[in-house]
Subunit: 356 residues, 2 copies
């Protein structure tokens, strides 16, 4: 079946290979390099074919497809979000994705993206904070210490130099897990008994909880002037983390307004509430933080270009490194129009059963 050109083969990065790739590069280096790709793609934002993700909502969760293209490569991610999964021993979020050549439509890479999404979400947060957080921020609160927490911590360490963490989770076991995993990685960490305690004195507040409901992780009185809020967990309709009053006091930055207005914290605000697009700040078209007392808020919901950047980075890193396997994904008859002939001839290659 496999010809010299191996037109049928698409490289596949399994979970095991992704872990090996990440570990061989080093988590912080991976996050830093990935952040570079994400930043580069935000800078050339205007070349991308953009659309809000295509969501299929059900009682217990959502399944989404997130496609985009820069005209040369096309990428999409399949991702679910099911908060109830955790209780059943399943991941809240699982994902996989692919890259294809726009010119031929042929897939070039298929990859697990559960781990990769965790990495790109954290790298995107850190890229935004690089432009929005107070100069020289080294302390961060993380409220919600689930699957995303350690990745956020390491991305902010690698890209901004954050080394002091204050952690809080409604479930103390999650905080303990997070502290255990981050031990020895260069942080001074405080476990906090309340969100109030966690946000005390920090420059950056990250919220990353998973409940699919309107919650109020942060109330207005908890947020002092000058902080940067990195709101990661409010990412689908009916799911927010911040009190509306905080939004009213903040300068709000978003990835792609048509999607964020549906899914982000700003779903609590009128559709014409002013927001700034992150790409405009990164490309220097608009200012980020204006003054020291300003509250900046990155209302992060995750956008298709970030997954595209992540797939592009992994694809570049794969070259010859042995971190993928070959998938026999594409039919490749000797003559392109002879798909049926290929099927017919397969019969003579070791199948006893009748064709028809």
């Amino acid at each position: 079946m496999i010809t010299d050109r191996q037109l049928n083969i698409v490289p596949f990065v399994s979970v095991d290979h992704m872990m090996k790739l990440v570990l061989s590069i080093g988590v912080e280096t991976f996050l830093t390099e990935l952040a570079g790709y994400i930043e580069e793609d935000f800078r050339r934002w205007e070349v991308f074919d953009k659309t809000p993700r295509v969501a299929s909502h059900s009682r217990d969760g959502v399944i989404e497809l997130m496609p985009t293209s820069d005209g040369i490569l096309y990428g999409f991610k399949y991702v679910n979000g099911h908060p109830k999964n955790m209780k059943e021993g399943l991941q809240t979020v699982t994902a996989f994705g692919m890259l294809a050549d726009v010119a031929s439509g042929y897939p070039r890479l298929i990859s697990e993206m559960t781990i990769l999404t965790a990495l790109r979400t954290a790298a995107t947060s850190a890229v935004a904070a690089k432009y929005l957080a107070p100069e020289g921020s080294t302390s961060m609160a993380i409220i919600g210490n689930g699957a995303q927490a350690e990745f956020q911590a390491l991305a902010f360490k690698a890209i901004l130099g954050v080394d002091r963490l204050q952690l809080y989770d409604i479930d103390a076991a999650a905080t303990a897990k997070c502290m255990r995993n981050l031990k020895g990685l260069g942080f001074s960490i405080k476990s906090c008994a309340s969100p109030q305690e966690a946000v005390q004195g920090v420059a950056i507040i990250t919220t990353a909880t998973a409940d699919k409901q309107y919650s109020t992780i942060l109330t207005d009185n908890m947020v002092g002037s000058g902080v940067h809020i990195n709101a990661v967990g409010g990412d689908c309709p009916g799911k927010t983390e911040l009190h509306r009053d905080i939004l009213m006091r903040s300068e709000i930055f978003v990835e792609y307004p048509p999607q964020t207005r549906i899914e982000g914290e700003i779903q609590q605000l009128p559709g014409d509430h002013p927001v700034t697009e992150l790409w405009q700040v990164i490309s220097g078209k608009l200012p980020g933080r204006n003054h020291a007392g300003q509250i900046t808020l990155f209302d992060s919901v995750g956008f298709a270009t970030e997954d595209f950047s992540a797939l592009r980075y992994v694809h570049d890193k794969l070259k010859g490194a042995g971190f993928s396997e070959d998938l026999d994904l594409l039919a490749d008859p000797d003559e392109p129009r002879d798909l049926f002939g290929m099927l017919l001839r397969a019969q003579t290659k070791g199948l006893a059963q009748p064709v028809i």
Copy 2:
């Protein structure tokens, strides 16, 4: 990595496995059983979450995502259409797809769909013709003898009993390939020098050409009363096969009007031109063919539910049959929130490099 429950594993059907599965069942039996699934899903049309496919158009082709869900299972297909590929030794259409559990969002199957799409397109055509073609039709013209032609022929043989074919292609080599492949499979076949000759005296006319342009494969004077037209090739904006006058004389049946009005033959007509939805005929809500002299036209563009039916059928047939391999696609930490811990621990399982 692999636990007892193997939560990380998703079965994958490669091209090679798909061919072996189809051959082990037999092509005609496969088409007949698949048509049963397609018909069943058209009958319960109203339960499906339906959306026009999400298309990314470029100079040379289109890349599409086609999602749908019946509330229990979610499915989507990735598919490209690049007519120029053929000249470069590539498939015009390649595809793959997946099924997932709506309740958890976890993938249950990933499959090649280049071969499967060819089969489901032909099976759908035959299902439509079962309700629309003249009673006792046994003859069919096939104009356009590319990758889809033999599948159409076998589906119409298996489901309607068509055994007399008249073939025409602008490239005689395509017709020769088609005749060679269908030899000995129970057809009497005539190779024709023109479309006019091909349509002479047949009950069903199938058009399946691949050019991405407005063509006129059939002109009005070529189509006599009482025939059924199975128009397969007009399937994206700017690509049609039939002269507008034929549409004006025909009773038109479509899969999903919001998609067909953009992509089908009826893109040549005003947006309010009356069409009948195929599911309404199949479920007995509306009549199909009214009288012997009527021209019926199935303006087929391919809809997500048909791919869903095909994936559902393959998934059912796989059970224990050994026609799939295991993909390590899903991260499965011992504790769902401990994604980072899984990565950390992978380091101790055979990787010498530093984590951070």
